[in-house]
Symmetry: C2
Subunit: 468 residues, 2 copies
């Protein structure tokens, strides 16, 4: 902490005596008083929180909101209106252009003319950004691989084939995000590597730790000077089926039909609102989630949760009469899933009007029980943030560890070198739902969601009082 100040907490704690700088427990009074504030925020969030009610509106009533869609536009207006309803300051939109990819009605894959199973449908969905196929689809023999080295080794044998990426998320990892990180290059770059050796399509095992029949979409990319081939996710149950079939019959052929396409960019916006700081209004702590979602489920955990928690954190601070010295700003970022245009544009905009961002917090790991924060920061800032861990003890969320902040706020770290924090949550269920039809409001526990908002509110408030 650069400075220790008790002014705002004095408003709260009437019995505070300035002559008694250290309490009986030897803890500096400011931190002890923040403990009272933290406890108050937690209890208020659990008993009167409104994050869940907001999420019902955003995820259930508006539904999926892929960048450029009608629903994404409705979500922007919902965010703006909700911030106005809660009487936030300086509510406005930052307009940006976003990509517009549409799935279309057709996504089918089937094993054809197999001697063992005949013709059999596979549960697939187009990966976001994929080109479509002709109406007849692409047909080819399937080659199963586990990684890009195996693809390269195929050489000319891959020509005209469908490359089937089937490396599972590592089941031995406690942290499912680490397991995701170890598998997701198949989805993001699989089509590129397959096209380089002449393949006509890529099928990618869904990124989930579960065995189910639900395909999980997500972003894929193309590269300059490499053919754009269609790419689809296949459910884990169907991936296992296909793999077993290939063990019996190497000549298995699959037909893939996709009607997806990329349309011209369209206008959209980040949604911004804040509590203006009482003493240093130009210094800003950003709280954020992303407003867009994939089109399969309702984007409840990914990332309706982060959006409503960001707004709710401000609402909690206001409703308790807390007056942060620095400004705390909620940003609902657009287009995290397939372009990150919102996050990148916000970093360009962040130092306008003499603003100085000092930290940012993102919630984009689902609305599960908070466990702490991952922090990307220089050593001194990290140490300052780590000192606050005890404030989260009452909710058993005091793990402050080094790690990633978030996709939307990382550009702020890159541009200004400021600390970026990611809300750390219990991660076991996230990839059951992620990017799939399973990501719906009924998968969100109200208490877990509200506690996450409380964790963000506490961190934001103390950083706004103390700096970092």
């Amino acid at each position: 902490m650069k400075r220790i100040s008790c002014i705002a907490v004095l408003v709260l704690i009437c019995s505070f005596s300035q002559s008694n700088v250290y309490g009986q427990d030897g803890q500096p009074d400011s931190l002890r008083l923040y403990s009272d504030v933290a406890k108050n925020i937690i209890e208020t969030a659990l008993s009167e929180g409104q994050a869940y009610d907001m999420l019902v509106e955003l995820a259930r009533d508006i539904g999926p909101r892929l960048s450029g869609s009608t629903e994404a536009a409705a979500a922007v207006e919902w965010g703006r209106q909700t911030m106005l309803d809660y009487d936030l300051d300086n509510v406005h939109l930052q307009e940006i252009m976003v990509p517009r990819w549409v799935r279309g009605p057709v996504e089918q894959a089937e094993v054809i003319n197999s001697p063992t199973v005949g013709t059999k449908s596979l549960a697939v969905c187009a990966l976001g950004g994929s080109v479509g196929t002709s109406e007849l689809g692409v047909v080819g023999q399937v080659i199963e691989v586990k990684n890009f080295e195996e693809v390269k080794a195929l050489g000319p044998k891959a020509k005209g084939k469908l490359i089937f990426y089937n490396r599972p998320m590592g089941p031995r990892r406690v942290n499912t995000f680490a397991a995701y990180g170890g598998a997701v290059n198949q989805r993001s770059r699989g089509a590129i590597e397959a096209a380089k050796v002449g393949a006509v399509a890529a099928l990618v095992r869904s990124m989930t730790t579960r065995l189910d029949r639900v395909p999980h979409t997500g972003a894929m990319h193309y590269a300059k000077n490499v053919a754009k081939i269609p790419a689809a996710a296949i459910s884990t149950v169907d991936a296992n089926f296909l793999s077993d079939l290939l063990k019996r019959d190497e000549s298995v052929r699959v037909r893939l039909r996709l009607s997806c396409q990329t349309l011209p960019d369209v206008p959209s916006a980040n949604v911004i609102g804040e509590i203006t700081g009482s003493e240093l209004p130009e210094e800003i702590i950003v709280l954020g989630g992303h407003l867009d979602s994939w089109d399969k489920g309702h984007g409840a955990h990914d990332d309706g949760a982060g959006c409503v928690q960001s707004i709710e954190a401000l609402r909690l601070i206001k409703s308790l009469g807390l007056q942060p010295k620095r400004s705390i700003r909620a940003v609902l970022f657009m287009n995290e899933e397939n372009g990150q245009r919102g996050g990148k544009a916000y970093a360009q905009y962040a130092d306008q009007n003499g603003s100085k961002h000092i930290a940012a917090i993102e919630s984009d790991r689902g609305g599960f029980t908070p466990r702490g924060f991952t922090v990307k920061a220089e050593n001194e800032s990290f140490a300052n943030i780590e000192r606050l861990a005890h404030l989260f003890d009452p909710m058993a969320a005091s793990r402050i560890i080094r790690g990633y902040g978030g996709v939307d706020i990382d550009p702020l770290n890159k541009r200004f070198g400021i600390p970026v924090l990611g809300l750390l949550v219990d991660s076991h269920r996230y990839f059951d739902y992620h990017h799939s039809a399973n990501d719906t409001i009924d998968k969100v526990n109200e208490r877990e969601l509200e506690l996450g908002a409380a964790a963000i509110a506490i961190m934001a408030y103390v950083l706004a009082m103390e700096g970092v």
Copy 2:
């Protein structure tokens, strides 16, 4: 730890050098080696665990298994056979007599002849142990109360009335078990206190933090020389409805019909199996859950989870080739829900054949993400157990705090003074399901359940090696 021994872990870690008692990181080698064992148990549980598959059999296929029911008998046989299939030692039953309460087909409540709503059905279910009503039911005016003081204050006004207990579980508590503890006396003793002032029935707000239309059952009691009046749980949505109605119309009358009854005791059993210790087989660490469940859901979280985790912990230890010095015994206790006969009988039986129990661990808080252990123990034992916290760091479950062990193992603590430990888990969702039709297998996340088994296996194994 009374003694530090590396013999068994030597079997595992072939490269171990006894001359090198302290490793490069300055940690005693035994604890460092246990860290490797713990990591191995965690990774094996996540990738090859069988707790979830067992729970499908117990909770989904057998289903609800209230003491004395056909399903409870099937669960006993399932437990015995499963332990035999996993080649556990000394698999046997401890026969006990259990109460036999049956719900019967009728449980209805309705507001009758209200000027505002007419006749309206309320979602209720009999509390476990309640007497039934006549076929016509009991009818009376409803008086809402929040606590026993209010009941006592009613005095003669309560005569012939239905007492409606409507104190919610405290929403401000982070720990839902604490909130439950603050409300559950309404369920367990509500009928007694209501009968003392002449009431004819008790209606109790369901013990859940959610608002839904599902009533949650649970045990209730009668007292000597106090009339036995029927008692039912009412869903939280209906409790709020009834409370609102009473604000408009104090004369609201409700009819309650219950067909439940208590039959004579029937024989049942605890199911026991173990890994016999290699050096001190007579010293025993007990792992347990309870095999019986309420009859509304499938007893998946309460407490199929604890049963399958207890068996799975032994299976993990065996499958990794670990050879504990002391015996580790799984006990599937019968009749936790409405009598605790299994736990009490086991404590009576525990020192037979020269056995000496040294610790017990129970899992009865649902199959959620493990966070650590609550420990009821003398200071020295607590300190020894607390020293093991770091072993649970890889699964972020290193909270070793003072607290309750469990209903079934508490008699072991009372009789022998031994430490009893309860698996501490993330508690936010538990009371969404507890004792209700919601407690089904689909509410259990496989990874969370398996990790709980891993936590128990690690704690049991190290206690079996080191004593406590």
